[in-house]
Amino acid sequence: MARTILPFGPQHPVLPEPLHLKLTIEDETVVEALPTLGYVHRGLEKLCEVRDFNQMIQIVERVCGICSCLHALCYCEGVEQIMGVEVPRRAKYLRTIWGELHRVHSHLLWLGLFADAFGFESLFMQFWRVRERIMDIMEATCGNRVVVSVNVIGGVRRDLTPEQCKWIEEQVAIAEKEIRQLSSTILNDYTVKKRCCGKGVLTKDQAYQLGAVGPMLRGSGWAQDARQTGYAAFGELGFEPIVEYDGDSYARSAVRFRETLQSLDIVRLAIARLPEGEIASKVKGKPQGETVTRVEQPRGELMYYLKADGSKHMDRVRIRTPTFANIPPLLAMLPGCELADVPVIVLSIDPCISCTER
């Protein structure tokens, strides 16, 4: 049969960010997909040579426009490991709270965009309305909506007052109620299921061998989450990953939906157990050595390789973002699907291309 090559992206209604896929199609079926990257490459890793290691916190926060807090957390934990800094317990809990709030708002953003991908505009609006509540918490407690800039090496910059804690708990309770109201629509609606079930199937073995991370891996039946390694306060709070077994777009959206509720529970638990004490420890000297740190970003596992040579600049900051690891599985999922399902499948990996290219 005659083959046609169809460009998908870099500008496409479903994509918030520029990813170009060269789709080879036979009739309506995709047979091959080739990616092209490089539209938003900013060279942020390279900036470690001109900015000092404290200034890099603000730089790595800008790797991703949605989960900035977790990037800074991962970087700070790495530098703290190199320098042997002990972070106060309260700071660890505060980092967990803000990190999980970031996950909630990122997942709600994604659920909205996903609804938009199959044309469910009003569900998109509903999710984003709930998300606004989380953004309000962020603005009131951190001083900014997205790029919160609360992490510093040795701790955090802002503290929560008891009144703020109480207010967060109230807001989280309302948000949870509102999210639960939407559960029957995103999980049980006939049209939604028709668009997601069985689309973009990634088998359990494929997911692992292709290096998928985050909800992609957990949607295919692997109980792996970097939060199990116990970064920040997860060592004390305990954590059980959420797993779905079907490996299709529906399973991935179910993982993310359930994780949203789980993260709200974690926020509540962390506030309830928030210990008293300092929020930052004094840091002296300059880092020397190398380390690897991992945290769980909303999109999956984020890995930093840091090398410092004892000067005020880091020698190398290597950032492996989750979307970068999730593109090979995407290339494996696309062949065999219908052209009309491509937007849903591409969005089901939660692509963050600015992250990928850094």
């Binding site: 001109v50 061998q209 390694t229 890995m303 390789y305 600049h313 190398r316 492996r320 690891a325 090979p328």
Partner: protein, 121 residues
Amino acid sequence: MLETIPLSLDQVAAVAKECFDDGWRQVTMSAVDCGEAGFEIFYHYDKDLVMRHYRLSIPKETVVPSISPVYFCALLIENEIRDQFGICFSDIVLDFGGALYLEAEVRAMPFCKVSVAEKQS
């Protein structure tokens, strides 16, 4: 600090195969420019949340055998390293030839060290 297992150039593909058969997931590869000493490439693998790091030290202008025939997901990483550091890999499954991020005519490797003039402040 970071426990690494040294790796020599001819072991690269064999070790990757071994890890693959043993059920390790490839996390990523990291390249570091060590100036005069050449490059270091780290291979990070993960199994049940335990990480293993292999360190490969190579002089400049070395062609490294690709592990993408074993781990398909390595193709993007290897192409990225090719773009950023100019390290060539042989037999990548899908070779962009140094044009993943860059335009084909760019020949300067952006991530190699430049000497930064320290400002006196």
